[in-house]
Protein backbone atom coordinates (compact mmCIF):
# COMPACT_ATOMS: atom_id res chain seq x y z
CA UNK A 1 0.00 0.00 0.00
CA UNK A 2 2.66 2.46 1.04
CA UNK A 3 4.68 1.38 -1.93
CA UNK A 4 1.81 2.15 -4.23
CA UNK A 5 1.45 5.61 -2.76
CA UNK A 6 5.14 6.21 -3.01
CA UNK A 7 5.17 5.07 -6.58
CA UNK A 8 2.28 7.33 -7.51
CA UNK A 9 3.90 10.33 -5.92
CA UNK A 10 7.13 9.50 -7.66
CA UNK A 11 5.17 9.50 -10.88
CA UNK A 12 3.62 12.87 -10.18
CA UNK A 13 6.85 14.72 -9.63
CA UNK A 14 8.32 14.54 -13.13
CA UNK A 15 4.99 15.42 -14.69
CA UNK A 16 4.71 18.42 -12.47
CA UNK A 17 8.25 19.46 -13.27
CA UNK A 18 7.57 19.15 -16.96
CA UNK A 19 4.41 21.19 -16.63
CA UNK A 20 6.31 23.92 -14.86
CA UNK A 21 8.93 24.04 -17.58
CA UNK A 22 6.37 23.92 -20.36
CA UNK A 23 4.20 26.63 -18.94
CA UNK A 24 7.11 28.85 -18.22
CA UNK A 25 8.48 28.54 -21.71
CA UNK A 26 5.09 29.05 -23.31
CA UNK A 27 4.46 32.25 -21.53
CA UNK A 28 7.87 33.67 -21.94
CA UNK A 29 7.15 34.06 -25.64
CA UNK A 30 3.81 35.73 -25.09
CA UNK A 31 3.56 38.96 -27.07
CA UNK A 32 2.38 42.12 -25.41
CA UNK A 33 3.72 42.65 -21.98
CA UNK A 34 1.78 42.87 -18.82
CA UNK A 35 2.44 46.55 -18.61
CA UNK A 36 0.84 47.35 -21.90
CA UNK A 37 -2.10 45.34 -20.64
CA UNK A 38 -2.34 47.73 -17.75
CA UNK A 39 -3.39 50.56 -19.96
CA UNK A 40 -6.97 50.51 -20.99
CA UNK A 41 -9.15 52.76 -23.05
CA UNK A 42 -6.87 55.69 -23.47
CA UNK A 43 -5.31 55.56 -20.03
CA UNK A 44 -1.89 54.68 -21.25
CA UNK A 45 1.15 54.35 -19.13
CA UNK A 46 4.23 56.39 -19.38
CA UNK A 47 6.90 54.52 -21.34
CA UNK A 48 9.54 55.49 -18.84
CA UNK A 49 7.47 53.95 -16.12
CA UNK A 50 7.06 50.85 -18.21
CA UNK A 51 10.79 50.47 -18.54
CA UNK A 52 11.24 50.70 -14.85
CA UNK A 53 8.49 48.20 -14.18
CA UNK A 54 10.03 45.76 -16.59
CA UNK A 55 13.23 46.00 -14.63
CA UNK A 56 11.48 45.61 -11.35
CA UNK A 57 9.69 42.49 -12.51
CA UNK A 58 12.90 41.07 -13.82
CA UNK A 59 11.50 40.80 -17.32
CA UNK A 60 14.73 41.99 -18.85
CA UNK A 61 16.80 39.16 -17.46
CA UNK A 62 17.81 36.49 -19.93
CA UNK A 63 15.39 33.59 -20.19
CA UNK A 64 17.52 30.95 -18.46
CA UNK A 65 18.08 33.24 -15.50
CA UNK A 66 14.38 33.87 -15.19
CA UNK A 67 13.64 30.20 -15.50
CA UNK A 68 16.17 29.23 -12.89
CA UNK A 69 14.73 31.84 -10.55
CA UNK A 70 11.22 30.66 -11.19
CA UNK A 71 12.02 27.04 -10.60
CA UNK A 72 13.88 27.65 -7.38
CA UNK A 73 11.02 29.78 -6.15
CA UNK A 74 8.39 27.23 -7.07
CA UNK A 75 10.38 24.55 -5.32
CA UNK A 76 10.02 26.52 -2.12
CA UNK A 77 6.32 27.00 -2.63
CA UNK A 78 6.67 30.54 -3.91
CA UNK A 79 4.76 30.99 -7.13
CA UNK A 80 6.13 34.45 -7.74
CA UNK A 81 4.59 37.88 -7.48
CA UNK A 82 1.62 38.87 -9.52
CA UNK A 83 2.39 41.58 -12.03
CA UNK A 84 -1.03 42.96 -11.57
CA UNK A 85 -1.55 43.18 -7.86
CA UNK A 86 2.06 42.86 -6.81
CA UNK A 87 1.03 40.37 -4.25
CA UNK A 88 2.41 36.86 -4.00
CA UNK A 89 0.57 34.64 -6.44
CA UNK A 90 -0.15 32.25 -3.61
CA UNK A 91 -2.26 34.86 -1.85
CA UNK A 92 -3.99 35.52 -5.13
CA UNK A 93 -4.79 31.87 -5.69
CA UNK A 94 -5.43 30.96 -2.08
CA UNK A 95 -8.95 32.32 -1.74
CA UNK A 96 -9.90 30.88 -5.13
CA UNK A 97 -9.15 27.29 -4.25
CA UNK A 98 -12.07 26.66 -2.00
CA UNK A 99 -14.75 28.04 -4.36
CA UNK A 100 -13.17 26.11 -7.22
CA UNK A 101 -13.14 22.91 -5.25
CA UNK A 102 -16.71 23.47 -4.21
CA UNK A 103 -17.84 23.98 -7.76
CA UNK A 104 -15.93 21.00 -9.05
CA UNK A 105 -17.18 18.74 -6.31
CA UNK A 106 -20.74 19.91 -6.78
CA UNK A 107 -20.52 19.34 -10.52
CA UNK A 108 -19.04 15.91 -10.02
CA UNK A 109 -21.65 15.00 -7.48
CA UNK A 110 -24.27 15.93 -10.01
CA UNK A 111 -22.50 14.07 -12.78
CA UNK A 112 -22.00 10.92 -10.75
CA UNK A 113 -25.40 11.02 -9.15
CA UNK A 114 -27.31 11.44 -12.36
CA UNK A 115 -24.93 9.88 -14.86
CA UNK A 116 -24.09 6.69 -13.04
CA UNK A 117 -27.70 6.12 -12.03
CA UNK A 118 -28.97 6.66 -15.55
CA UNK A 119 -26.28 4.51 -17.10
CA UNK A 120 -26.88 1.78 -14.58
CA UNK A 121 -30.58 1.51 -15.13
CA UNK A 122 -30.16 1.87 -18.86
CA UNK A 123 -27.83 -1.12 -18.85
CA UNK A 124 -30.17 -3.28 -16.84
CA UNK A 125 -32.80 -2.93 -19.53
CA UNK A 126 -30.95 -2.48 -22.78
CA UNK A 127 -33.19 -1.39 -25.60
CA UNK A 128 -35.88 -0.21 -23.23
CA UNK A 129 -37.38 3.25 -23.21
CA UNK A 130 -35.25 4.45 -20.32
CA UNK A 131 -32.18 3.15 -22.13
CA UNK A 132 -32.92 4.91 -25.37
CA UNK A 133 -34.00 8.02 -23.56
CA UNK A 134 -30.99 8.33 -21.32
CA UNK A 135 -28.54 7.52 -24.08
CA UNK A 136 -30.05 10.06 -26.45
CA UNK A 137 -29.86 12.48 -23.55
CA UNK A 138 -26.28 11.55 -22.89
CA UNK A 139 -25.11 12.04 -26.41
CA UNK A 140 -26.94 15.35 -26.59
CA UNK A 141 -25.31 16.39 -23.36
CA UNK A 142 -21.96 15.76 -24.97
CA UNK A 143 -22.86 17.92 -27.93
CA UNK A 144 -23.79 21.02 -25.98
CA UNK A 145 -21.75 24.14 -25.95
CA UNK A 146 -21.07 24.77 -22.29
CA UNK A 147 -21.57 28.51 -22.17
CA UNK A 148 -24.68 28.27 -24.22
CA UNK A 149 -26.14 25.69 -21.94
CA UNK A 150 -25.20 27.78 -18.92
CA UNK A 151 -26.88 30.81 -20.37
CA UNK A 152 -30.01 28.79 -21.03
CA UNK A 153 -30.03 27.52 -17.47
CA UNK A 154 -29.70 31.06 -16.28
CA UNK A 155 -32.59 32.24 -18.37
CA UNK A 156 -34.80 29.37 -17.44
CA UNK A 157 -34.17 28.86 -13.76
CA UNK A 158 -33.26 32.36 -12.72
CA UNK A 159 -35.16 34.66 -14.98
CA UNK A 160 -38.25 32.74 -16.01
CA UNK A 161 -38.87 30.42 -13.09
CA UNK A 162 -37.13 32.56 -10.50
CA UNK A 163 -36.08 29.47 -8.60
CA UNK A 164 -32.41 30.16 -8.28
CA UNK A 165 -30.07 33.11 -8.27
CA UNK A 166 -28.48 33.63 -11.63
CA UNK A 167 -24.86 34.28 -10.79
CA UNK A 168 -22.20 34.84 -8.23
CA UNK A 169 -20.89 33.19 -5.16
CA UNK A 170 -23.54 34.48 -2.78
CA UNK A 171 -22.85 33.53 0.78
CA UNK A 172 -21.29 30.31 -0.41
CA UNK A 173 -24.52 28.41 0.12
CA UNK A 174 -26.21 25.79 -1.98
CA UNK A 175 -28.53 27.92 -4.08
CA UNK A 176 -25.79 29.78 -5.86
CA UNK A 177 -23.83 26.69 -6.77
CA UNK A 178 -26.59 24.69 -8.42
CA UNK A 179 -26.69 26.33 -11.83
CA UNK A 180 -22.95 26.51 -12.43
CA UNK A 181 -22.52 22.99 -11.13
CA UNK A 182 -25.13 21.68 -13.53
CA UNK A 183 -23.65 23.60 -16.44
CA UNK A 184 -20.22 22.22 -15.63
CA UNK A 185 -21.39 18.75 -14.77
CA UNK A 186 -23.51 18.01 -17.78
CA UNK A 187 -20.59 16.90 -19.94
CA UNK A 188 -19.11 14.47 -17.43
CA UNK A 189 -22.63 13.38 -16.59
CA UNK A 190 -23.28 12.37 -20.16
CA UNK A 191 -19.95 10.64 -20.38
CA UNK A 192 -20.50 8.79 -17.14
CA UNK A 193 -23.93 7.66 -18.20
CA UNK A 194 -22.44 6.13 -21.30
CA UNK A 195 -19.45 4.63 -19.56
CA UNK A 196 -21.51 3.20 -16.76
CA UNK A 197 -23.92 1.66 -19.19
CA UNK A 198 -21.13 0.08 -21.16
CA UNK A 199 -19.36 -1.10 -18.03
CA UNK A 200 -22.45 -2.64 -16.51
CA UNK A 201 -23.24 -4.36 -19.79
CA UNK A 202 -19.70 -5.67 -19.94
CA UNK A 203 -19.93 -7.05 -16.46
CA UNK A 204 -23.38 -8.47 -17.00
CA UNK A 205 -21.93 -10.52 -19.82
CA UNK A 206 -18.96 -11.66 -17.80
CA UNK A 207 -18.52 -15.31 -16.97
CA UNK A 208 -18.60 -14.82 -13.25
CA UNK A 209 -22.05 -13.31 -13.47
CA UNK A 210 -23.18 -16.49 -15.18
CA UNK A 211 -21.54 -18.37 -12.34
CA UNK A 212 -23.45 -16.28 -9.86
CA UNK A 213 -26.68 -17.00 -11.65
CA UNK A 214 -25.88 -20.69 -11.75
CA UNK A 215 -25.55 -20.55 -7.97
CA UNK A 216 -29.24 -19.78 -7.81
CA UNK A 217 -28.99 -16.14 -6.90
CA UNK A 218 -31.79 -13.77 -7.57
CA UNK A 219 -31.10 -11.24 -10.27
CA UNK A 220 -31.12 -8.47 -7.73
CA UNK A 221 -28.50 -10.13 -5.64
CA UNK A 222 -26.43 -10.80 -8.71
CA UNK A 223 -26.55 -7.14 -9.54
CA UNK A 224 -25.91 -5.84 -6.07
CA UNK A 225 -23.29 -8.38 -5.02
CA UNK A 226 -21.40 -9.06 -8.16
CA UNK A 227 -22.13 -6.55 -10.87
CA UNK A 228 -21.98 -3.24 -9.06
CA UNK A 229 -18.50 -3.40 -7.69
CA UNK A 230 -16.99 -4.78 -10.84
CA UNK A 231 -18.68 -2.13 -12.94
CA UNK A 232 -17.45 0.45 -10.48
CA UNK A 233 -13.89 -0.53 -11.19
CA UNK A 234 -14.44 0.32 -14.82
CA UNK A 235 -16.26 3.55 -14.06
CA UNK A 236 -13.75 4.84 -11.55
CA UNK A 237 -11.14 5.58 -14.20
CA UNK A 238 -13.50 7.80 -16.09
CA UNK A 239 -14.66 9.46 -12.93
CA UNK A 240 -11.06 10.17 -12.08
CA UNK A 241 -10.14 11.57 -15.45
CA UNK A 242 -13.24 13.72 -15.62
CA UNK A 243 -12.90 14.86 -12.08
CA UNK A 244 -9.29 15.77 -12.56
CA UNK A 245 -9.84 17.82 -15.66
CA UNK A 246 -12.98 19.51 -14.41
CA UNK A 247 -11.15 22.40 -12.81
CA UNK A 248 -9.70 23.22 -16.18
CA UNK A 249 -13.02 22.88 -17.91
CA UNK A 250 -14.54 25.19 -15.35
CA UNK A 251 -12.94 28.20 -17.00
CA UNK A 252 -15.97 28.90 -19.14
CA UNK A 253 -18.57 28.27 -16.48
CA UNK A 254 -16.74 30.30 -13.89
CA UNK A 255 -16.50 33.20 -16.25
CA UNK A 256 -20.15 32.99 -17.21
CA UNK A 257 -21.48 32.72 -13.67
CA UNK A 258 -18.93 35.09 -12.16
CA UNK A 259 -17.76 32.28 -9.92
CA UNK A 260 -14.64 33.22 -7.98
CA UNK A 261 -12.60 30.16 -8.88
CA UNK A 262 -9.19 29.43 -10.29
CA UNK A 263 -10.55 29.30 -13.82
CA UNK A 264 -11.87 32.82 -13.86
CA UNK A 265 -8.70 34.06 -12.24
CA UNK A 266 -6.77 32.36 -14.98
CA UNK A 267 -8.74 33.83 -17.85
CA UNK A 268 -8.52 37.24 -16.29
CA UNK A 269 -4.83 36.87 -15.79
CA UNK A 270 -4.29 35.65 -19.34
CA UNK A 271 -5.94 38.75 -20.68
CA UNK A 272 -3.98 40.98 -18.41
CA UNK A 273 -0.75 39.21 -19.23
CA UNK A 274 -0.20 38.52 -15.58
CA UNK A 275 2.14 35.65 -16.29
CA UNK A 276 3.02 34.60 -12.77
CA UNK A 277 -0.66 34.35 -11.94
CA UNK A 278 -1.44 32.36 -15.08
CA UNK A 279 1.41 30.01 -14.39
CA UNK A 280 0.24 29.62 -10.84
CA UNK A 281 -3.30 28.87 -11.94
CA UNK A 282 -2.25 26.26 -14.46
CA UNK A 283 -0.01 24.71 -11.89
CA UNK A 284 -2.90 24.49 -9.48
CA UNK A 285 -5.13 22.95 -12.11
CA UNK A 286 -2.52 20.40 -13.01
CA UNK A 287 -1.79 19.68 -9.39
CA UNK A 288 -5.46 19.11 -8.78
CA UNK A 289 -5.59 16.70 -11.68
CA UNK A 290 -2.61 14.79 -10.43
CA UNK A 291 -3.89 14.65 -6.89
CA UNK A 292 -7.26 13.38 -8.01
CA UNK A 293 -5.65 10.81 -10.24
CA UNK A 294 -3.47 9.64 -7.43
CA UNK A 295 -6.51 9.35 -5.24
CA UNK A 296 -8.27 7.38 -7.94
CA UNK A 297 -5.32 5.05 -8.15
CA UNK A 298 -5.49 4.56 -4.44
CA UNK A 299 -9.20 3.96 -4.72
CA UNK A 300 -8.35 1.23 -7.16
CA UNK A 301 -6.05 -0.29 -4.66
CA UNK A 302 -8.89 -0.25 -2.19
CA UNK A 303 -11.49 -1.82 -4.44
CA UNK A 304 -9.48 -4.03 -6.73
CA UNK A 305 -7.49 -6.79 -5.06
CA UNK A 306 -5.72 -7.56 -8.33
CA UNK A 307 -3.83 -4.32 -7.91
CA UNK A 308 -3.50 -4.56 -4.20
CA UNK A 309 -1.55 -7.76 -4.38
CA UNK A 310 0.52 -7.26 -7.47
Amino acid sequence: MLIVIARRIANVVPTLAAVIALIFLLFSVLPGSFISGMSEEGRTIDPAVMERMRKEMGLDDPLPTRFAKYVTHVATGDLGTSFRTREPVTTLIGPRIWPSLKLVFAAMTFAIGVGVTLGFFAALKPGSLIDTFSMVGAISGLSLSQFWFGLMLMYLFALKLQWLPSFGYGDGGLTHIILPAVALGVGPMALLARTTRAAVLDVLNADFVRTARSKGMSERRVVTWHVLRNALVLVVTIVGLQFGSLMGQAVVVEKLFAWPGIGSLMVDSVFQRDMPAVQGCILMIVLFFLVINTLVDLAYVAIDPRIRYS
Binding site: I3, A6, R7
Partner: protein, 323 residues
Protein backbone atom coordinates in the same frame (compact mmCIF):
# COMPACT_ATOMS: atom_id res chain seq x y z
CA UNK B 1 29.58 -35.57 -39.29
CA UNK B 2 27.89 -32.65 -40.98
CA UNK B 3 27.10 -29.57 -38.98
CA UNK B 4 23.63 -29.74 -37.53
CA UNK B 5 21.18 -27.29 -39.07
CA UNK B 6 20.54 -25.63 -35.76
CA UNK B 7 22.56 -25.89 -32.63
CA UNK B 8 21.64 -24.38 -29.28
CA UNK B 9 24.30 -24.30 -26.65
CA UNK B 10 23.25 -23.45 -23.10
CA UNK B 11 20.69 -20.97 -24.41
CA UNK B 12 18.89 -18.97 -21.76
CA UNK B 13 16.22 -16.29 -21.91
CA UNK B 14 15.47 -14.37 -18.77
CA UNK B 15 12.83 -11.70 -18.44
CA UNK B 16 12.89 -8.88 -15.96
CA UNK B 17 9.42 -8.54 -14.56
CA UNK B 18 7.92 -6.09 -12.11
CA UNK B 19 9.27 -2.64 -11.52
CA UNK B 20 11.81 -1.31 -9.14
CA UNK B 21 9.17 0.62 -7.25
CA UNK B 22 6.51 -2.04 -7.01
CA UNK B 23 7.82 -4.98 -5.13
CA UNK B 24 11.14 -5.05 -6.92
CA UNK B 25 12.38 -6.48 -10.18
CA UNK B 26 12.41 -10.22 -10.44
CA UNK B 27 14.06 -12.43 -12.95
CA UNK B 28 11.86 -14.89 -14.74
CA UNK B 29 13.91 -17.65 -16.22
CA UNK B 30 11.67 -18.62 -19.11
CA UNK B 31 14.41 -20.62 -20.77
CA UNK B 32 17.32 -21.61 -18.61
CA UNK B 33 20.22 -23.27 -20.31
CA UNK B 34 18.90 -25.32 -23.18
CA UNK B 35 21.23 -27.37 -25.32
CA UNK B 36 19.73 -28.89 -28.43
CA UNK B 37 20.45 -29.56 -32.02
CA UNK B 38 18.32 -30.17 -35.08
CA UNK B 39 19.75 -32.08 -37.99
CA UNK B 40 18.80 -31.58 -41.57
CA UNK B 41 15.62 -33.37 -42.54
CA UNK B 42 14.78 -34.19 -38.96
CA UNK B 43 11.72 -33.38 -36.91
CA UNK B 44 12.41 -32.52 -33.32
CA UNK B 45 9.40 -32.66 -31.03
CA UNK B 46 9.31 -30.33 -28.05
CA UNK B 47 6.79 -31.10 -25.33
CA UNK B 48 6.05 -29.60 -21.99
CA UNK B 49 3.25 -28.01 -20.15
CA UNK B 50 2.08 -24.46 -20.45
CA UNK B 51 4.59 -21.87 -19.38
CA UNK B 52 7.61 -24.13 -19.50
CA UNK B 53 9.27 -21.95 -22.11
CA UNK B 54 8.59 -23.66 -25.40
CA UNK B 55 7.35 -20.58 -27.22
CA UNK B 56 10.06 -18.43 -25.72
CA UNK B 57 12.63 -20.84 -26.97
CA UNK B 58 11.09 -20.65 -30.42
CA UNK B 59 11.07 -16.86 -30.36
CA UNK B 60 14.67 -16.82 -29.23
CA UNK B 61 15.66 -18.99 -32.15
CA UNK B 62 13.78 -16.64 -34.45
CA UNK B 63 15.59 -13.68 -32.96
CA UNK B 64 12.39 -12.16 -31.62
CA UNK B 65 13.59 -12.19 -28.06
CA UNK B 66 17.25 -11.67 -27.24
CA UNK B 67 18.90 -14.59 -25.47
CA UNK B 68 20.40 -13.82 -22.09
CA UNK B 69 23.25 -16.21 -22.55
CA UNK B 70 24.31 -19.11 -24.65
CA UNK B 71 25.01 -19.66 -28.29
CA UNK B 72 22.79 -20.21 -31.24
CA UNK B 73 24.36 -21.51 -34.40
CA UNK B 74 22.71 -21.90 -37.75
CA UNK B 75 24.48 -24.32 -40.08
CA UNK B 76 27.59 -23.86 -38.01
CA UNK B 77 27.56 -20.06 -38.01
CA UNK B 78 26.86 -18.09 -34.90
CA UNK B 79 23.50 -16.48 -35.55
CA UNK B 80 24.79 -13.10 -34.47
CA UNK B 81 27.10 -13.07 -37.43
CA UNK B 82 24.46 -14.13 -39.89
CA UNK B 83 22.51 -11.50 -41.75
CA UNK B 84 18.91 -11.14 -40.63
CA UNK B 85 17.63 -11.69 -44.13
CA UNK B 86 19.70 -14.82 -44.58
CA UNK B 87 18.33 -16.15 -41.32
CA UNK B 88 14.86 -15.44 -42.59
CA UNK B 89 15.56 -17.60 -45.63
CA UNK B 90 16.78 -20.45 -43.44
CA UNK B 91 14.40 -20.59 -40.48
CA UNK B 92 10.69 -19.80 -40.48
CA UNK B 93 7.85 -20.29 -38.10
CA UNK B 94 4.23 -21.40 -38.06
CA UNK B 95 2.14 -19.91 -35.29
CA UNK B 96 -0.41 -21.39 -33.00
CA UNK B 97 -3.39 -19.12 -33.51
CA UNK B 98 -4.40 -19.06 -37.16
CA UNK B 99 -6.74 -16.17 -36.41
CA UNK B 100 -4.15 -13.85 -34.94
CA UNK B 101 -1.30 -14.84 -37.18
CA UNK B 102 -2.66 -13.39 -40.40
CA UNK B 103 -2.92 -9.68 -41.07
CA UNK B 104 -6.65 -9.11 -41.47
CA UNK B 105 -6.03 -6.29 -43.95
CA UNK B 106 -3.89 -8.22 -46.38
CA UNK B 107 -4.97 -10.57 -49.10
CA UNK B 108 -3.38 -13.97 -49.29
CA UNK B 109 -1.50 -12.86 -52.36
CA UNK B 110 0.02 -9.95 -50.58
CA UNK B 111 0.85 -12.00 -47.54
CA UNK B 112 2.77 -14.42 -49.71
CA UNK B 113 4.22 -12.05 -52.29
CA UNK B 114 5.56 -9.33 -50.01
CA UNK B 115 8.23 -11.52 -48.42
CA UNK B 116 9.45 -12.48 -51.86
CA UNK B 117 9.76 -8.87 -52.88
CA UNK B 118 11.50 -7.97 -49.68
CA UNK B 119 13.97 -10.70 -50.41
CA UNK B 120 14.79 -9.25 -53.75
CA UNK B 121 12.59 -11.20 -56.11
CA UNK B 122 11.17 -8.38 -58.12
CA UNK B 123 10.24 -10.18 -61.27
CA UNK B 124 6.46 -10.08 -61.33
CA UNK B 125 5.99 -13.31 -63.15
CA UNK B 126 8.33 -15.18 -60.86
CA UNK B 127 6.60 -13.83 -57.77
CA UNK B 128 3.26 -14.80 -59.25
CA UNK B 129 4.31 -18.29 -60.07
CA UNK B 130 5.92 -18.90 -56.72
CA UNK B 131 2.83 -17.68 -54.92
CA UNK B 132 0.63 -19.88 -57.07
CA UNK B 133 2.95 -22.83 -56.51
CA UNK B 134 2.94 -22.39 -52.80
CA UNK B 135 -0.81 -22.07 -52.62
CA UNK B 136 -1.23 -25.24 -54.58
CA UNK B 137 1.22 -27.00 -52.29
CA UNK B 138 -0.74 -26.15 -49.16
CA UNK B 139 -4.02 -27.05 -50.82
CA UNK B 140 -5.48 -23.64 -51.54
CA UNK B 141 -7.10 -22.87 -54.85
CA UNK B 142 -5.61 -20.19 -57.07
CA UNK B 143 -8.76 -18.09 -57.12
CA UNK B 144 -8.58 -17.72 -53.37
CA UNK B 145 -5.46 -15.60 -53.65
CA UNK B 146 -7.28 -12.30 -53.53
CA UNK B 147 -9.35 -13.05 -50.49
CA UNK B 148 -8.87 -11.71 -47.03
CA UNK B 149 -8.21 -13.95 -44.03
CA UNK B 150 -11.69 -13.54 -42.57
CA UNK B 151 -13.06 -15.30 -45.62
CA UNK B 152 -11.25 -18.48 -44.66
CA UNK B 153 -11.90 -21.15 -42.08
CA UNK B 154 -9.42 -21.91 -39.34
CA UNK B 155 -7.87 -24.81 -41.18
CA UNK B 156 -7.46 -22.80 -44.36
CA UNK B 157 -5.90 -19.98 -42.42
CA UNK B 158 -3.40 -22.34 -40.95
CA UNK B 159 -2.61 -23.44 -44.49
CA UNK B 160 -1.95 -19.83 -45.39
CA UNK B 161 0.27 -19.55 -42.34
CA UNK B 162 2.21 -22.57 -43.48
CA UNK B 163 2.46 -21.21 -46.99
CA UNK B 164 3.85 -17.96 -45.65
CA UNK B 165 6.45 -19.83 -43.62
CA UNK B 166 7.52 -21.84 -46.62
CA UNK B 167 7.45 -19.18 -49.31
CA UNK B 168 11.11 -18.31 -48.78
CA UNK B 169 12.01 -22.02 -48.99
CA UNK B 170 13.53 -22.25 -45.52
CA UNK B 171 15.34 -25.32 -44.31
CA UNK B 172 13.96 -25.33 -40.81
CA UNK B 173 10.40 -24.57 -39.75
CA UNK B 174 9.43 -24.08 -36.18
CA UNK B 175 5.83 -25.08 -35.64
CA UNK B 176 4.54 -23.67 -32.37
CA UNK B 177 1.47 -25.73 -31.58
CA UNK B 178 0.23 -25.57 -35.15
CA UNK B 179 -2.96 -27.50 -34.56
CA UNK B 180 -4.02 -26.88 -31.00
CA UNK B 181 -6.27 -23.98 -31.94
CA UNK B 182 -8.02 -25.89 -34.70
CA UNK B 183 -11.20 -27.87 -34.69
CA UNK B 184 -10.53 -31.48 -33.84
CA UNK B 185 -11.77 -32.72 -37.19
CA UNK B 186 -9.43 -30.36 -39.03
CA UNK B 187 -6.24 -31.27 -37.19
CA UNK B 188 -5.48 -34.35 -39.21
CA UNK B 189 -5.50 -32.34 -42.42
CA UNK B 190 -2.84 -29.99 -41.13
CA UNK B 191 -0.68 -32.69 -39.61
CA UNK B 192 -0.76 -34.65 -42.82
CA UNK B 193 0.03 -31.51 -44.79
CA UNK B 194 3.03 -30.73 -42.62
CA UNK B 195 4.37 -34.25 -42.99
CA UNK B 196 3.83 -34.20 -46.75
CA UNK B 197 5.62 -30.88 -47.12
CA UNK B 198 8.48 -32.11 -45.04
CA UNK B 199 9.10 -34.96 -47.40
CA UNK B 200 8.46 -32.91 -50.48
CA UNK B 201 10.69 -29.98 -49.59
CA UNK B 202 13.19 -31.76 -47.42
CA UNK B 203 12.37 -29.63 -44.40
CA UNK B 204 13.40 -29.91 -40.81
CA UNK B 205 10.87 -29.16 -38.10
CA UNK B 206 10.82 -28.23 -34.52
CA UNK B 207 7.35 -29.36 -33.54
CA UNK B 208 6.16 -27.72 -30.36
CA UNK B 209 3.09 -29.23 -28.81
CA UNK B 210 1.65 -30.34 -25.58
CA UNK B 211 -0.35 -33.02 -27.31
CA UNK B 212 1.80 -36.09 -26.82
CA UNK B 213 -0.05 -37.97 -29.53
CA UNK B 214 0.88 -35.41 -32.13
CA UNK B 215 4.48 -35.27 -30.98
CA UNK B 216 4.82 -39.00 -31.07
CA UNK B 217 3.26 -39.12 -34.49
CA UNK B 218 5.48 -36.61 -36.24
CA UNK B 219 8.78 -36.53 -34.38
CA UNK B 220 12.06 -38.26 -34.99
CA UNK B 221 13.51 -37.08 -31.76
CA UNK B 222 11.77 -35.59 -28.78
CA UNK B 223 12.80 -33.15 -26.05
CA UNK B 224 10.77 -32.70 -22.89
CA UNK B 225 10.87 -29.34 -21.13
CA UNK B 226 10.02 -28.44 -17.61
CA UNK B 227 10.31 -24.94 -16.16
CA UNK B 228 12.77 -23.68 -18.72
CA UNK B 229 15.00 -26.71 -18.79
CA UNK B 230 15.17 -29.81 -20.87
CA UNK B 231 14.61 -32.77 -18.61
CA UNK B 232 14.77 -35.57 -21.14
CA UNK B 233 15.76 -35.96 -24.72
CA UNK B 234 15.92 -38.94 -27.02
CA UNK B 235 14.47 -40.63 -30.03
CA UNK B 236 10.71 -40.88 -30.08
CA UNK B 237 10.74 -44.55 -29.20
CA UNK B 238 12.99 -44.00 -26.24
CA UNK B 239 10.86 -41.18 -24.91
CA UNK B 240 7.52 -42.81 -25.33
CA UNK B 241 8.39 -46.42 -24.64
CA UNK B 242 11.11 -46.03 -22.09
CA UNK B 243 10.75 -42.63 -20.47
CA UNK B 244 13.45 -42.07 -17.93
CA UNK B 245 12.28 -38.91 -16.27
CA UNK B 246 9.39 -39.02 -13.85
CA UNK B 247 7.97 -35.91 -15.49
CA UNK B 248 7.84 -37.56 -18.88
CA UNK B 249 6.11 -40.47 -17.25
CA UNK B 250 3.65 -38.17 -15.52
CA UNK B 251 2.84 -36.51 -18.80
CA UNK B 252 2.13 -39.84 -20.44
CA UNK B 253 0.17 -41.11 -17.47
CA UNK B 254 -2.04 -38.04 -17.51
CA UNK B 255 -3.34 -38.79 -21.00
CA UNK B 256 -6.74 -40.42 -20.73
CA UNK B 257 -6.48 -43.77 -22.35
CA UNK B 258 -9.67 -45.20 -23.69
CA UNK B 259 -7.89 -48.33 -24.85
CA UNK B 260 -6.42 -49.03 -21.47
CA UNK B 261 -2.93 -49.10 -22.74
CA UNK B 262 -1.04 -49.77 -19.54
CA UNK B 263 2.43 -48.70 -20.53
CA UNK B 264 2.74 -46.28 -17.70
CA UNK B 265 0.88 -46.87 -14.49
CA UNK B 266 -1.34 -44.45 -12.71
CA UNK B 267 1.23 -44.32 -9.95
CA UNK B 268 3.38 -42.21 -12.22
CA UNK B 269 0.92 -39.32 -12.12
CA UNK B 270 2.24 -36.02 -10.86
CA UNK B 271 0.71 -34.28 -7.89
CA UNK B 272 0.04 -30.58 -7.53
CA UNK B 273 0.67 -27.81 -9.94
CA UNK B 274 3.53 -26.54 -11.99
CA UNK B 275 5.55 -24.10 -9.95
CA UNK B 276 5.89 -20.55 -11.14
CA UNK B 277 8.92 -19.85 -13.28
CA UNK B 278 9.43 -16.80 -11.10
CA UNK B 279 10.60 -18.83 -8.15
CA UNK B 280 11.22 -22.37 -9.27
CA UNK B 281 11.85 -25.04 -6.65
CA UNK B 282 15.41 -25.73 -5.67
CA UNK B 283 17.36 -28.68 -6.90
CA UNK B 284 15.33 -30.65 -9.37
CA UNK B 285 12.51 -28.30 -10.39
CA UNK B 286 10.14 -31.22 -10.51
CA UNK B 287 10.76 -32.51 -7.01
CA UNK B 288 7.64 -31.12 -5.28
CA UNK B 289 5.43 -33.06 -7.67
CA UNK B 290 7.56 -36.10 -8.13
CA UNK B 291 6.37 -39.46 -6.84
CA UNK B 292 10.01 -40.47 -6.38
CA UNK B 293 11.19 -37.43 -4.52
CA UNK B 294 14.22 -38.01 -2.33
CA UNK B 295 16.30 -35.64 -0.21
CA UNK B 296 18.98 -35.06 -2.78
CA UNK B 297 16.35 -33.93 -5.28
CA UNK B 298 15.74 -30.86 -3.12
CA UNK B 299 19.31 -29.78 -3.04
CA UNK B 300 21.06 -31.17 -6.05
CA UNK B 301 20.32 -30.14 -9.58
CA UNK B 302 20.30 -33.27 -11.73
CA UNK B 303 22.27 -32.94 -14.92
CA UNK B 304 21.27 -34.20 -18.32
CA UNK B 305 23.15 -37.43 -18.45
CA UNK B 306 23.06 -40.24 -20.92
CA UNK B 307 20.79 -43.17 -20.38
CA UNK B 308 21.89 -44.66 -23.58
CA UNK B 309 23.41 -43.35 -26.78
CA UNK B 310 21.41 -40.27 -27.76
CA UNK B 311 19.00 -40.58 -24.85
CA UNK B 312 19.58 -38.25 -21.94
CA UNK B 313 17.53 -37.54 -18.83
CA UNK B 314 17.99 -35.13 -15.93
CA UNK B 315 16.94 -37.28 -13.03
CA UNK B 316 18.95 -38.66 -10.18
CA UNK B 317 17.10 -41.93 -10.54
CA UNK B 318 17.06 -42.21 -14.31
CA UNK B 319 18.53 -45.66 -14.14
CA UNK B 320 16.40 -46.87 -11.31
CA UNK B 321 12.87 -46.00 -12.28
CA UNK B 322 10.21 -48.50 -11.31
CA UNK B 323 8.40 -49.97 -14.23
Amino acid sequence: MAEPLLKLDDLAVHFQVGSALAGGVKTLKAVDGVTLDVKAGECLGLVGESGCGKSTLALAIMGLVPPTRGRLALEGHDIKTVDRMATARTVQMVFQDPYASLNPRQTVRRTLADPLRIHGITDKAEVESRVADMMAKVGLRAEQADRYPHEFSGGQRQRIGIARALILKPKLVICDEPVSALDVSIRAQIINLLLDLKDEMGLSYIMISHDLGVVEHVSDRVAVMYLGRIVERGSWQEIFEDPRHPYTRALIAAIPDPFHRAAVTAKAKAKGEIASALNPPSGCHFHPRCPLKADRCVTEVPLLEAVSEGHVAACHFRDALPT
